[in-house]
Amino acid sequence: MSTTVETRDTVEALSVEKYKYGFTTEIAMEEFPKGLNEEIVRLISAKKGEPDWLLAWRLKAFALWQKLEEPHWARVEHPPIAYDELYYYAAPAAPTPKSLDEVNPALLNMYEKLGIPLNERAALAGVAVDAVFDSVSVATTFRETLAKSGVIFCPISEAVREHPELVHKYLGSVVPYGDNYFAALNSAVFSDGSFVYIPKGVRCPMELSTYFRINARNTGQFERTLIIAEEGASVSYLEGCTAPMRDENQLHAAVVELVAMDEAKIKYSTVQNWYPGDADGKGGIYNFVTKRGACRGRNSKISWTQVETGSAITWKYPSCILQGDGSVGEFYSVAMTHNHQQADTGTKMIHIGKNTTSTIISKGISAGHSNNTYRGLVKIMPNASGARNYTQCDSLLIGDQCGAHTVPYIESRNASAKVEHEATTSKIAEDQLFYCRSRGLSEEDAVGLIVNGFCKDVLKELPMEFAVEAQKLLAVSLEGSVG
């Protein structure tokens, strides 16, 4: 038996049931009737006490969404999604807590179980957390500390009330409501998410992070995140995602918008571990997400780092619009798929300003029967003289039933631009495994070590506190889902 075959069998023998975030939380919920219509959109908006302009915006998005078609150009397959069978709003029944002391203990417990202490005293040093449970934000820590330096970090529903001028100015300015099918859906029904504003010249004094948790059955999660860094500001933001194990698929269609002004820097890291479905491909999250950052200012920088191990289907392309001269876009990605998971992910780097640079490092790991596609666009506009892009896409295959695909699109309309693309596909070599095992490592540990080595260039981009977490996550996913 060849080693790759054996590795695959070992991996398959370990059940994906090991997904350790698969528990559900019993808590009284308020849900709107299922299905989607104008009435539901109005209900959501009213529930949040939104101003008229926002309701109008939602309704326009909804009207457009009804005319749009679900996109099918990605290399993913799924049965039709019954949008009418979904719930578009679910929230813990209790009134919105004003402080951590008012948060339902069952929720605090759940986040504790996930390793995310919302109690500020116990929280990770220097990390402020916003926790989003189904449709609403349940707690945001360290707000006062942040407020001292002028940083706003709060649920977006609250920002709509407290900082309407900022939300009005920037919401939809990077991802317009009609951008694509899922963005339109999100614009119509988004219920919560995080809002971050870093004023001019401020370096955010701590890491910010949001943990998204889908709990309720048949409920879509449509969060919306908006981060604005004014001139010379900088921030590092991390999102983590988990969900219970459920037999039916659940839809997650988020939109994230980033805006960086002159000399501003935004680092956005994602550790996505939504429930991937079971070993036969039953259940799991459909993760259809639109993430885009606008480098509006001179020498601004937006850096996306993602470690994607979960979800039945991942469809996301965190992108950068490099408008400001000298602006920098980066995309560092690890996408790991196993069993019947499907990932079609990558980035778009749109070079508009002069001397803009972008770097793309993508590491795809496929195991089981999974399919893993890197899809990326590098577009150099006519005025982007001196633009540079470097792209590296590496795929690692575990077993012979999985697929890895690289689909790079390059459009250069400026002759002075330089675009480089490198791609490799490899398997974990038998001699590497044997070398490790002859030193005493179990086969699983050996695969974990080699895969972590393969991903190192990406993992080192994660904030320190989370790099170790991500490494463990890769190893755990390898146990249950190598890949």
């Binding site: 030193r439 005493g440 070590l449 080595g453």
Partner: protein, 247 residues
């Protein structure tokens, strides 16, 4: 004590080992010499459990245990160590991380406490110094971009840290300059004890000036065709292997 009895093995349907008999008592170091393609590396892989090497007959008993049924990692835990003829590169895997993971895996299997990063580093630095190796070896990725000689020294470093009961060194001397050769030999000699034994595979008598073997064996066409004391290596150096294969 390692006892190999009538061991036969093949790769695919190619018969490579054809009844190897060999005993290495505790505390002894035996050299194995023999022409290219004789099966020396094959023997080392069979003893350490590499896949694709099918044992077709015979046995290998180490400290009373039949090792042929064990996984490679279980053999490592039992104290067997192979210094590879061609050490393998692990891109992105830091040497320190690799060494500590390996050491702790073996320690765990032996019921010993795991070492934290600080304790490990102390141990590793001492081992490096003993082998005249630079500390930056720990920071580099396992064998990636190492020169031929650095790779071989890295094998000996691993051996020094893992402290095996039975070391198999497959041409660890090839590619080493004369100073490195002495250092590697010292590394092996430092492990000498009543509970350590070694199989040293080499083409050159020179190594055996520094690691003086208790016995020298000649492996040819998959069999041990001659055994003797250290003087046998000198004789082979003078006359070559001519006539031995027929024996």
């Amino acid at each position: 004590m390692l006892e190999i009895k009538n061991l036969s093995a093949r790769i695919g349907d190619k018969e490579i080992l054809r009844g190897v008999n060999l005993s290495v008592p505790d505390g002894e170091i035996h050299a194995i010499m023999g022409p290219n393609g004789a099966g020396k590396s094959t023997l080392s892989y069979v003893l350490s459990g590499r896949e694709g090497y099918e044992v077709t007959g015979g046995e290998a008993i180490y400290n009373g245990q039949d090792i042929l049924a064990l996984t490679p990692e279980a053999r490592a835990a039992a104290g067997i160590f192979l210094a590879f003829q061609y050490p393998v590169e692990l891109p992105g895997v830091g040497n320190a991380n690799f060494l500590r993971t390996a050491l702790n895996a073996v320690r765990r299997a032996r019921g010993e406490a795991e070492l934290d990063a600080v304790a490990f580093l102390k141990l590793a630095r001492t081992a490096l110094k003993n082998l005249s190796m630079q500390d930056d070896m720990l920071k580099r990725n396992v064998n990636v971009g190492f020169s031929g000689g650095e790779k071989k020294r890295n094998e000996v470093l691993q051996m020094a840290l893992l402290r095996p009961g039975l070391a198999i060194l497959d041409e660890t001397d090839s590619g080493l300059d004369i100073d490195a050769l002495k250092i590697v030999a010292e590394g092996v000699n430092a492990l000498r004890s009543p509970v350590f034994s070694a199989l040293v595979i080499t083409h050159y008598q020179r190594l055996l000036d520094y690691i003086v073997p208790d016995r020298v064996h000649v492996l040819a066409a998959g069999k041990i065709v001659r055994s003797g004391g250290p003087e046998l290596a000198l004789e082979l150096e003078a006359r070559g292997y001519a006539g031995l294969e027929a024996a």
